[in-house]
Symmetry: C2
């Protein structure tokens, strides 16, 4: 089942951790898969934190990971803008982590919303009306819109919570402008970034995640093998009833170690 797979693209939220808590057993599976020489990339639609902040979080959970093995939409968005409009002034509807990634990529942060060429939209749970209105003013004065992702919901502490699609809806419905680029999964931009880090073709990679739309959708768009885990937003019943069918369904990413060991042992 996994013998041709040399690279694992692993979602974070709902797959490796929930909130501040690592999911039981995932630390062992990740350590094992790396110990047998497989490549790993962690791929998340999170746009409000920097790669550095995410690395700290994973290390704090006891997960063995290099900063280069983490790809967030904040990083990929910054790279995209640098490659497509290097001199652009950028306004951020988001947090410091996203600003850090943009500056690290060599972009300039606009001093006022009215001066921005691009508005980068992501979500943060400390969003205020003032910030939303600054983003609105940027677009009214000509800024083009790019979003780190377009998820409708994410699993929050009090259940499903409103995600970036809400901010996009607020701005599109009041400015009569459309978001031009969405970076996050299932966009092929995220798959290309992951394959580039691993240096592997898609057919030798498997994506493991908890979202049918984002993770399994991305795997299918890119030609990777796909595994849905049930530790996040989707139940087995929902998965079986869906139009999008993953190649495999596991209870948890923690199953990966057992599956690899049983395949490796003599029949």
């Amino acid at each position: 089942m996994l013998e041709n797979i040399d690279g694992y693209v692993i979602d974070l939220d709902g797959t490796v951790y929930k909130g501040q808590q690592a999911i039981e057993g995932v630390m062992d599976s990740i350590a094992y898969v790396k110990s047998i020489g497989k490549r790993v990339v962690f791929l998340s639609n999170r746009g409000n934190i920097s790669r550095h902040m995410c690395h700290d979080k994973l290390i704090g959970m006891g997960i063995d990971v290099q900063e280069e093995e983490i790809l967030l939409t904040s990083t990929v968005t910054a790279t995209y803008l640098r490659n497509h409009d290097e001199g652009a002034q950028v306004w951020v509807l988001g947090e410091q982590g996203l600003r850090d990634e943009l500056v690290l990529a060599g972009l300039t942060l606009a001093e006022k919303p009215e001066e921005a060429d691009w508005l980068v939209i992501t979500l943060h749970e400390t969003l205020t009306y003032k910030e939303l209105n600054e983003a609105f003013r940027a677009v009214r004065h000509g800024a083009r819109m790019i979003a780190t992702n377009a998820d409708k919901t994410f699993p929050g502490d009090e259940g499903d919570s409103i995600d970036v699609a809400g901010m996009i809806g607020a701005l599109e419905s009041t400015t009569d402008q459309k978001v031009e680029v969405v970076i996050g999964k299932p966009s092929i931009l995220m798959a290309e970034a992951a394959l580039e880090v691993m240096g592997l073709p898609a057919e030798r990679c498997m994506i493991i995640g908890d979202s049918l739309v984002s993770d399994i959708g991305l795997g299918k768009n890119a030609g990777m093998r796909t595994t849905l885990v049930l530790t996040g937003s989707v139940s087995r019943e929902e998965a079986e009833a869906s139009d999008v069918q993953p190649d495999y369904i596991w209870n948890s990413l923690s199953d990966l170690k057992d599956i690899l060991q049983s395949e490796a042992s003599p029949k």
Copy 2:
């Protein structure tokens, strides 16, 4: 020009005041029109304050007004819900002023978003992510949506600012549900409420406001005479280029006194 007009429906924001400041001369015009026995109703799409709070604000500006002469979407929304779903539990995306109006109308405020039958959407400039997410949770658990108004922008201290349409866009695009009722101008619900207060038929009334869509649109929907004033969001050039044509364009509501006096004086 005004000889058959016995009732004036007057917009507030951009017509009577801007921010915390009364527009010059409007106090005199309002006092004069009442002194010659005409009826007046102030009609605003504001949904986040109570009629009582608005009355205090106008009195503080020196404007002679009774509480009964003020119709806000907070009041009209509360009356609508009471008449259509009296036992409903209501969750508010808004401020205390709207909650006051709902309780005054005899409605019950839900204790948790998940328990609400209706979500009432309005705008307030202290909106936080937490409040937006509570509204989202109400809808995800079955609450139907009603909005005090659906304006895209309002004239704020730093120029045009994002209005209720933004909140509607955020919730509709993430819940796949639609707002069922919009109370505010140009909805006929606001016109009917104004005509009821004045006890006059539409053809004996004139609406005076600064918005082509909300004010002039409402007047045309209801069969009232229409006057656009240029103290708010629209310039004379924009007005003349518009599909919606008011019967009259005045520089300001303060012109009303002069026009009435010149019509009353012997030819």
